[in-house]
């Protein structure tokens, strides 16, 4: 079913969350009964640096309207330095999306530690709002992609 206009549009958002921090934060937000936007589909990854741009592209090309990547704060990585690599990779993803004008705002990186359940809810809610404002992914319905 194709989304109909910007107003009553339910976005599809995919969240790649680090097992050690952001995923735990999501768990905490849930058990604290915080209100979290329901449009986010969570995929747990063992480290945010596991995310290759192919995953990001595949997600976008398969119809996602937004992608949230969640990792530990710099310096707090469970694997010591994984999120430093994430930071570089993410900068490259974003740079390419910017250069190609592929809606870079649809991709977001957030450092959320395991104890930041509140922050998790805030980030997810505000990101969902942002995507709702941006409207559907322009790739959808383009038969050549």
């Amino acid at each position: 079913m194709k989304p109909e206009g910007k107003d009553n549009f339910t976005p599809k958002i995919v969240g790649y969350l680090c097992n050690w921090c952001t995923y735990a934060a999501a768990d905490m937000a849930g058990s604290s009964k915080l209100e979290i936007a329901p449009e986010l589909t969570v995929i747990k990854v063992m480290c945010s640096s596991r995310i290759d741009f192919n995953m990001v592209l595949t997600t976008f090309f398969n119809g996602a309207d937004g992608i949230l990547i969640g990792g530990c704060h710099p310096g707090d990585c469970h694997y010591d330095k994984g999120n430093y690599y994430t930071r570089r990779r993410f900068a490259l993803f974003k740079d390419i999306m910017k250069i190609l004008k592929l809606d870079p705002e649809r991709l977001q990186l957030s450092w959320i530690s395991a104890s930041e359940g509140n922050r998790y809810a805030e980030v997810v809610n505000s990101f969902t709002e942002k995507i709702k404002k941006l409207g559907p992914n322009p790739l959808n319905g383009n038969p050549y992609f």
Binding site: N54, Y84, R88, L92, I99, K101, L109, W111
Partner: protein, 382 residues
Amino acid sequence: MKKSYTKGAKISNSKGSRKTILNFLKGLLKKGSLDAVLIPMRVPAGDSYAWVLIKDKKLLDDANPIAPIMPVQGANALSSCTKKGKGNLKIAALMRPCEIRAAIELSKLNQVNLESVTLISYDCPGALPMSDYLQDPGEGEKVFDSLLKKRDRDVESVKPVCGICDNFSILPASDLHFGLSADSRDNILLIPNSKKGTGLLNKMDIKPSEDISSWAKNIEELKKVQEKKRKERFEYVKDMVEGFDSLVKTFSACVGCHNCESVCPVCYCRQCYFESETAKPDIESILLKTKNRGSISLPADRIMFHVGRMVHMSLSCVSCGLCTDACPVSIPVAELFSYVGDRTQQTFEYRSGEEKGEPIPMKTYRKEETKGINELVKGAEG
């Protein structure tokens, strides 16, 4: 800090630059300072060039140190013989600057071992497009000979990406450099640029005592002109890749042959994701995608392949232009990648193939990142 070399030796160019280079290499083989030379040689049919590792001095006569075309990237040839480690042979590789830069990138990825290799570069006039050369190889040779004799860069007949190349001369990574655009065409400047290079000159009893500043100044001026051309061309290329619609338009003729990937020197993976089984979806997931998106073009991932490749190798792109040569439907792949590569390399304050020891940006990190990177990850802290 790398020691900078500011002296060179003038050698006579009376026999033409190709003969002069060959004679120098022959001398080195004779003295035993080198065991073999990796050099292009015209194929028997006369319509292409192949990389040949030559140990026999006599065979060097048939080699062409400055080939008019670039059918195989020199870095690939070098990788094919040094990938599994250094050998006992002392090899000199005579390559274009873009080939040397690709070799440096590959050495960072453990695909080339430079320990026993001497890299020799020269002032490259560019290379002819394969398609033009194949139409009439004889004419191609003539055109290229006239390019070699000019002091300025003639961008009319070379590959488009050579026409906007601003890195066509000595590199920090070259051990030895032939300055072809010296003051007069009667001389060639032989410039040592590392201990290895100086060592070879010593063996040949050539003293690098001449000042090279006037040659360097000329190169600087040419570079400035090229930089300007590059900028102007990129203004045009920009419109070809900005936005979903232009991207679709630019790559609409793509037949999905993946030639651009297989000839690319820095696309080194043993198996590319896009050719793996993972990238070949089953019918269920195709139907699901179609349902999600409304439609899907098949085979899938045609455009994703190019965007994916831009991410994976734009930081290492050396703008050699082999991808455009290999494209059967004449998509200007090389210029697109050069454009994207220049911009990403700027963000990461990196220049592909410049410094030997420096790791590629994705294999390293800093605790405090550069301004460009911080700007892009802004908002992650909240």
